[in-house]
């Protein structure tokens, strides 16, 4: 396991603030699962679809967001404990468990198999969302009276989280559906890149995301509530480009990794 200098807080924002937020927007989750689907082996694809009434995995990409009641057992934050050097909390452990359980999916009940799949199809995507995996000791958690507002390119104040989840992705490619997006990002990816990206474990991927994305919080530090708009960080087109590039890479990686996990579990 890779050592990190920081403790990691990987979380679905949801429970931290005690209300229901979302991860990536629907279009991103659909894109990630679509890229994954493009990389499934025929055997894995057939086995998976047999578990979900012949539907495409894309259909269930946002099941967890839509069915919050049924999926609340996975909606927990988790972080990396600096004393024990072990990840605790359930976002990480639950997803690890899900991956492990799906490895022997035939032993699962039909319902559990489905639900574990829905969980994987969504949560692995959110683990790659720069706004969702970050370092704890930089005190980047959301607390009362502080916020992460920024000024978006239209000169309106918005939450930084919304920027990452939605605005950034839509801005440059407003007309794209998930197939356009998937096709564009994953047109003719070199095999070498696929192998390099999909090496490692969930934990490595989580660390990598946190490491790659830590700078987005340095750029826009946390503010006290009521900070005037002029003093907030402002987005310009250059930054939109730079960050959407980062987001797009994360999307591609999430898709490729999801395919790897699914192929390993269902490809037999």
């Amino acid at each position: 396991m890779k050592k990190t200098r920081f403790t990691i807080l990987a979380t679905l924002l949801t429970l931290m603030v005690g209300t229901n937020a979302w991860g990536w927007g629907r279009d991103v989750h659909a894109t990630i699962t679509y890229i994954a689907e493009r990389h499934l082996t025929p055997q894995a694809k057939a086995n998976i679809e047999a578990c979900i009434d012949g539907r495409s995995i894309v259909y269930y990409a946002s099941w967890m967001d839509n069915h919050q009641e049924e999926s609340k057992m996975w909606r927990h934050s988790s972080y990396y404990d600096k004393d024990t050097h072990k990840p605790v909390g359930t976002a990480y452990t639950e997803l690890s468990t899900t991956i492990e359980k799906l490895g022997d999916y035939k032993s699962l009940s039909e319902t559990e198999c489905r639900h574990r799949l829905y969980h994987l199809l969504h949560a692995l995507g959110d683990f790659h969302c720069p706004g969702h995996t970050y370092f704890q000791n930089a005190d980047r958690s959301f607390k009362r009276n502080t916020h992460y507002n920024v000024v978006w390119i239209d000169n309106k104040e918005t939450s930084y989280h919304t920027v990452w989840d939605i605005l950034l992705i839509r801005y440059l490619r407003s007309a794209f559906g998930y197939m356009d997006f998937g096709h564009s990002l994953d047109c003719n990816i070199p095999q070498q890149y696929v192998e390099q990206v999909t090496a490692g474990t969930l934990y490595d991927w989580m660390c990598e995301t946190a490491n790659r994305c830590v700078h987005i919080y340095d750029k826009f530090p946390k503010r006290k509530k009521g900070t005037p708009k002029e003093e907030l960080g402002h987005f310009d087109l250059d930054l939109v480009q730079e960050y959407s590039r980062l987001a797009d890479e994360q999307i591609l990686k999430a898709g490729l990794r999801m395919a790897k996990v699914l192929n390993e579990s269902f490809g037999k």
Partner: protein, 281 residues
């Protein structure tokens, strides 16, 4: 923070419905049908449509009905049914019947369009294209739950619901014309094909079996329960609304696919000699 969370929620849940509703779903239905046309039917149809697919003209009937020369299509959207699900003829409806019942003439419109296409040698190029586009549109509408007018549930058609923090209540019937699907799946037409055009040949054969009226009667059974999904003037908290959407999105979305298969069966029967003809009755 809450406000922002709310914003995110709002964006994800509702942004798709702001863009075109209904038209996009008609396009989706026609795209699925297009994927199921036989080559012969497709060739003939696209020649008649000026080298365009049926999807290209999927919502055309809606776009032209404001013109005086197309005013006859304005009533071709709904079907009227008795409480027990028997199809009622709008033409024969009593003068005292409600306007919405007397104007529920979609089946008659479809029958006329299909009859015209069966004798298409008599049609001008314009009439041929128009009648194809009528069929494409009306079969779509026949798979939209809110287009089924049950005579005992006329009041329920006026139902509205209100979502927390929204100023105006929303129309329940309008919900079924778009948001029932798009609040959950904001797909483009090729994505609807990718998601829904995957049923087994046996399942497709079962769905497309029978006449158009058989389809309508079958649909009526599936659609009638929607009136019990909602209390009059129901108020939703945000979270409740999403949970409530979950009751219906699967059925609503699947109907897009069913409509596509059936439209293809109807058009194949009309334009490909080797395919079984579909009758209205």
């Amino acid at each position: 923070m809450k406000k922002h969370i709310f914003t995110i929620f709002a964006l994800l849940a509702f942004a798709p419905s702001v863009s075109a509703w209904n038209g996009a779903l008609h396009t989706a239905i026609a795209s699925i049908a297009d994927a199921n046309l036989t080559p012969e039917a497709r060739t003939k149809i696209e020649a008649a449509l000026g080298d365009h697919s049926i999807a290209y003209y999927a919502h055309w009937m809606d776009d032209v009905q404001h013109k005086s020369e197309y005013q006859h299509v304005r009533d071709w959207h709904n079907v009227a049914l008795s409480p027990k699900g028997k199809i009622l003829s709008a033409k024969k409806a009593d003068k005292s019947a409600s306007d919405v019942v007397r104007r529920a003439d979609a089946l008659d419109g479809l029958a006329r369009a299909v009859a015209a296409l069966q004798n298409r040698n008599n049609l001008s190029a314009q009439e041929l294209a128009d009648n194809i586009r009528y069929v494409v549109y009306i079969v779509g509408d026949l798979h939209c739950p809110s287009h089924y007018v049950f005579t005992d549930l006329l009041e329920a058609r006026k139902m509205k619901y209100q979502i927390e923090k929204e100023k105006k209540p929303r129309s329940y019937m309008r919900f079924w014309e778009g948001e029932a699907v798009t609040a959950t799946f904001a797909w483009k037409n090729n994505e609807f094909v990718h998601q829904l055009n995957r049923l087994s040949p046996e399942r497709v054969a079962a769905l497309t079996d029978g006449s158009v009226m058989d389809w309508v009667v079958e649909n009526a059974k599936i659609y009638r329960p929607i009136y019990s999904y909602l209390e009059p003037d129901q108020h939703f908290k945000r979270k409740e609304y999403r949970a409530w959407l979950n009751k219906s999105y699967e059925m609503a979305t699947d109907q897009i696919g069913v409509a596509g298969y059936r439209l293809a069966a109807l058009l194949n029967g009309l334009f490909d000699e080797s395919m079984p003809k579909k009758s209205i009755k």
